[in-house]
């Protein structure tokens, strides 16, 4: 029963985010898509408030945390501005294969659920640090700096960003205890949330191919990879969901309006607050967007909407960690000055082997095949982010760790998984036969 109560807490998140997502500009998304985006925004706000409260030395209480987070979303609503100029965004003319795609997405989520229930997807990292940290924070009713600074918990990566442990601690406080089984179920639940919301976001992208079908292939790829790489209960599915939705919003027709920019910024902040790898993803995506936009007009404002949420979320976390001596640096694997280029062959071989072992690399090969077989050139933004991320991650694996092959075998199939999302998002449809200059839909 604890597990049910633990998960039921998540139903509060869409209510927390509702003050923002009830803004008229977001009516272009489906009701379900909007509710899930609302939950995602609510979660980012909740985690920020939890971290800020910990920094201020206030003990967590459920209702004040939720109310303050909802108030924060209300304040963000003011930053979203009015409706986009020229009326609501043009919706795609159609969504071919929608029913088949929905069925395939449901099957992918069902298989992920069965794999989790069968104990075939449980993440060791849930046992080793995500769960224990959340339990400790729930017991202390704050982010427990003493626990993080203890030499016996040094292997729990004290500097890892707090969103997932904050949410798990919040759920544990509400349910009265931490639930390992419910935590594992977050993998199929978040995969399902992505399956329900991604088509809605892709439908308002520029030149969408077949939003539901493309979303279904991404969801199926993540489902296979998640079960193969054992991600149930760790932060990977949360990271992937934030990255997929945040990056998909950046594919909106140019110029991207203020409300879309803000929501993308919040979701990318969610990615950066979920896992360390989320920060390079968010920064590279924002950087390439600004380069692609090629205009200096209102640059500080455009930048603030995109980067502000990440800067705030991680800023308060770093202030907490450094101020409370919970950790002293944002990393642990060595300095970029000590890279070992001589290991390049070993690293590439180990990455290839690891990716192959997780479902014969199908989660990567299928999205890649979609890009290569498309008659349309891929979208440059996701491809550029994928290339930069690949370079970053490969370079990271050149850091001077003692057993690089083991490190790569343990992590590479997960750290490279955003490429699945990015390749899927890069597929686009043909140019409309009739000029888009027809203006906004009536």
């Amino acid at each position: 029963m604890t597990g049910g109560a633990w998960l039921a807490t998540w139903l509060l998140l869409p209510l927390v985010g509702a003050p923002l997502l009830s803004h008229g500009a977001y009516r272009r998304f489906s009701f379900v898509g909007r509710a899930i985006l609302s939950g995602a925004a609510g979660l980012v706000a909740l985690s920020f408030v939890q971290t800020a409260a910990s920094l201020a030395g206030w003990r967590w209480r459920l209702l004040p945390l939720a109310i303050l987070s909802a108030a924060g979303c209300w304040a963000l609503r003011l930053a979203a501005g009015g409706p986009p100029p020229g009326g609501p965004l043009r919706l795609a003319s159609g969504d071919p294969g929608r029913r088949a795609a929905s069925l395939l997405s449901a099957m992918a989520v069902g298989v992920a659920l069965v794999a989790t229930l069968a104990g075939a997807a449980g993440s060791p990292d849930l046992l080793l640090f995500w769960g224990p940290k959340a339990e400790a924070f729930a017991a202390a009713r704050t982010i427990d700096a003493g626990f993080l600074a203890d030499s016996r918990t040094v292997l729990m990566h004290p500097y890892y960003p707090p969103l997932v442990t904050n949410l798990y601690a919040f759920s544990s406080m509400a349910a009265g205890a931490f639930s390992w089984r419910a935590a594992a179920l977050t993998f199929p639940i978040l995969l399902g949330a992505l399956a329900l919301s991604l088509p809605s976001v892709l439908r308002v992208a520029e030149r969408p191919l077949a939003p539901s079908a493309v979303a279904a292939s991404a969801v199926a790829a993540l489902g296979l990879l998640g079960a193969e790489a054992d991600i149930a209960g760790n932060a990977d599915m949360m990271l992937l969901a934030f990255e997929a939705l945040g990056a998909a919003l950046l594919l909106a027709p140019r110029p991207i309006d203020r409300s879309t920019r803000l929501l993308a910024g919040i979701l990318l902040a969610g990615a950066a607050s979920a896992k360390v790898e989320g920060l390079p993803f968010a920064l590279v995506a924002i950087l390439f967007l600004l380069v692609q936009e090629r205009r200096l007009a209102r640059l500080p404002e455009r930048l603030a909407l995109l980067v502000g949420p990440t800067a705030l979320s991680l800023g308060v976390w770093l202030a907490f960690g450094l101020g409370r001596h919970a950790f002293s640096r944002y990393g642990e694997y060595g300095s970029l000055l000590d890279l070992r280029p001589d290991r390049m062959g070993l690293v590439l071989t180990a990455i290839g082997r690891t990716v192959w072992r997780r479902g014969f690399a199908l989660p990567y090969l299928v999205p890649l095949a979609l890009v290569l077989s498309s008659r349309q050139s891929p979208r440059p933004l996701p491809i550029a982010v994928a290339a930069a991320l690949t370079l970053f991650l490969t370079t990271t694996y050149l850091l001077p760790v003692a057993r690089p092959a083991l490190w790569i075998e343990w992590s590479a199939s997960r750290t490279f998984s955003p490429l699945i999302v990015l390749l899927s998002l890069s597929v686009r449809g043909p140019r409309p036969r009739y000029a888009e200059a027809a203006g906004p839909p009536s």
Binding site: A100, A112, A118, G119, L128, P132, S212, A220, L362
Partner: protein, 137 residues
């Protein structure tokens, strides 16, 4: 519909692959609800099962030593990490010589693997994955 054909075919292939990689139906329907029993790490399933079972018998504040019947230090340290996470409020330490403090006396022992024949302790609970002990007075 033609535009959706390739993504749909890709999704179908991936779903089929994921379904093919599922455990056998009989295993899926097992009553045991251990989310780690078929994890990539061979230690996680047994570790979760044992600690989940004994947690109620180890009171908060207790000192708990973790040992393995294999006496492989790396395994012992790994099990101790898992136990430490699953037993909040207890002082959990690995029973390996290079980590031991002589003044630290455990209130409980958790031993992974087969029951040690020469244990200087009283058995409290036994499961297929290991045993819980209290030191002899």
């Amino acid at each position: 519909m033609r535009r959706a054909a390739l993504p749909l075919a890709g999704a179908a292939l991936l779903v089929a692959a994921a379904a093919y990689r599922l455990p056998h139906t009989r295993q899926i329907l097992e009553p045991e609800r251990n989310p780690f029993r078929r994890s990539l790490s061979p230690f996680d399933g047994p570790a979760f099962a044992l600690i989940d079972r004994v947690a109620a018998d180890v009171p908060r504040g207790a000192k708990v030593a973790i040992d393995t019947s294999s006496r492989v230090d790396q395994e012992t340290v790994y099990f101790a990490m898992v136990a430490s996470g699953m037993l909040p409020g207890r002082d959990v330490r690995a029973h390996v010589p290079w980590l031991e403090e002589k003044s630290w006396k455990p209130d409980y022992w958790i031993v992974f693997g087969s029951r040690p024949p020469d244990a200087p302790a009283v058995p409290v609970l036994q499961t297929p994955e290991g045993t819980l002990w209290r030191p002899k007075e």
